[in-house]
Subunit: 258 residues, 2 copies
């Protein structure tokens, strides 16, 4: 991406925490949602990791990711039960203490009063926030996420995570948005692959992806996705792909007619 100065590129990783995803019992719905969300606001998602509810695994992944990308978004493990160890692991990764946070406690107490439920040891667990973190408000169920350094810690339940992401997004630095356009090739990947590679090579500031799919009418087909931060470069690459497709499909038709 020579066209855009590097300070306009904001990167991110997602760290999904939870045995239930790795056992296959729960199918993750957060990765795709966050990926689409970040792309839309101009943040490049570069990596995702899923790890189990294991302290060493969480701390190691978190430290690897937070030193590599502008932001790390975690999901899962901030509930009231013994297997919710994310907040403690984040504190450990940052080398800070963790304790009941007066702001989180006030939110939970207000909510408990409203719901007519009592504060207990389990619910108090959800008010433990690493020292130095800001809260990420949770309009859905009260118990907040938090933001420390470049790490944003969110719930695993999709509706709650989505609300927290909206809250966090207000304060995220964003970069020049990645623009994209796609072309339905109406051709097989194997028929256009070499020529598509030549177009890609001729447009180094543009990323061209090729995604096969099965079309019920035409059989094997291909979506070609063109991505760039510069609209003109995107348009030029798109025109080049369309010219190439027309040329190759004409050649194939002639070869078939012989």
């Amino acid at each position: 991406m020579n066209a855009v100065p590097s300070q306009n590129i904001i990167t991110a990783a997602i760290l999904v925490i939870g045995d239930e995803i790795l056992s296959g019992r729960t199918k993750d719905k957060n990765i795709g949602y966050i990926a689409e969300y970040l792309t839309a606001i101009g943040i490049d998602l570069k990596e995702v990791r899923v790890v189990s509810d294991d302290e060493a695994a969480i701390v190691e992944a978190l430290n690897a990711l937070r030193h590599k990308y502008t932001y790390v978004f975690t999901t899962g493990g901030i509930g009231p039960t013994h297997d919710d160890i994310t907040a403690d692991c984040v504190a450990k990764a940052f080398g800070v203490s963790i304790d009941v946070d007066p702001r989180a406690l006030a939110i939970m107490q207000e909510r408990m009063a409203k719901m007519g439920t009592e504060m207990n040891e389990a619910r108090l667990r959800m008010t433990r926030i690493p020292k130095g973190a800001d809260l990420v408000h949770n309009k859905v169920s009260g118990a907040p996420g938090f933001w420390i350094g470049n790490v944003i810690v969110m719930a695993g339940v999709p509706s709650i995570m989505q609300g927290m992401l909206d809250e966090a997004a207000k304060k995220l630095k964003t970069g020049t948005k990645m623009l994209s356009d796609s072309i339905r090739a109406d051709a097989r990947e194997g028929d256009v692959g070499t020529e598509l590679g030549e177009v890609a090579k001729a447009h180094p500031d543009v990323s061209i992806g090729s995604y096969p799919f099965f079309d019920d009418k035409l059989g094997p087909n291909t979506n070609i996705v063109i991505r760039a931060r510069d609209q003109q470069k995107l348009n030029e690459a798109k025109a080049a792909v369309e010219d190439m497709l027309a040329r190759v499909k004409k050649q194939l038709a002639q070869a078939g007619a012989r």
Copy 2:
């Protein structure tokens, strides 16, 4: 898991390769499928990573994962286009050469003849297999995956990946299966969390997970999932959870009635 000797534990990681997943354009369907599949045959999925179509990122992730787990399953990036770089990256990670493989070529030529399409440079790309790898047959669309060392390289298209996983599974070592059972608590996580943690502590050979969900009738509710490799230990833990739930719910009802 003190009850089971460690040689019966077989571990795995998934490495998903593809910009389209990280941009959110394509929603991954393979992680959940493979997770469930591996759990069912007695392999513990311990980690998942998603990386972009970038050589350095793929090689680094592959080397990290293959030295850590019994198996690594990769999905994506083995098609005929310029952005399909997985096979080359795997060769690089293993420090072996990569070239057209006569077995893969024979498969592709037979398929091309049957389909009435011609072999070309793009399709030839799909016959490039790292030296020393075994093929993983692809009954859906011909172009094979491969297996080198402890790494199984599969397609990204779910139907093709699923066929390849069936093929690979015939030769996978499997461990003592993880058994699981779940209990619908009909209670809020925050109401039973502390007591559940005590049950978990009392049953160290069993993994107890707590997963909140929203019940349309009852409101906030909880699924408790118990996992163990030993049926008797699983049963004992399940009974302990059920006893605890009955006790806590009775207390809550009495408190409410006061």
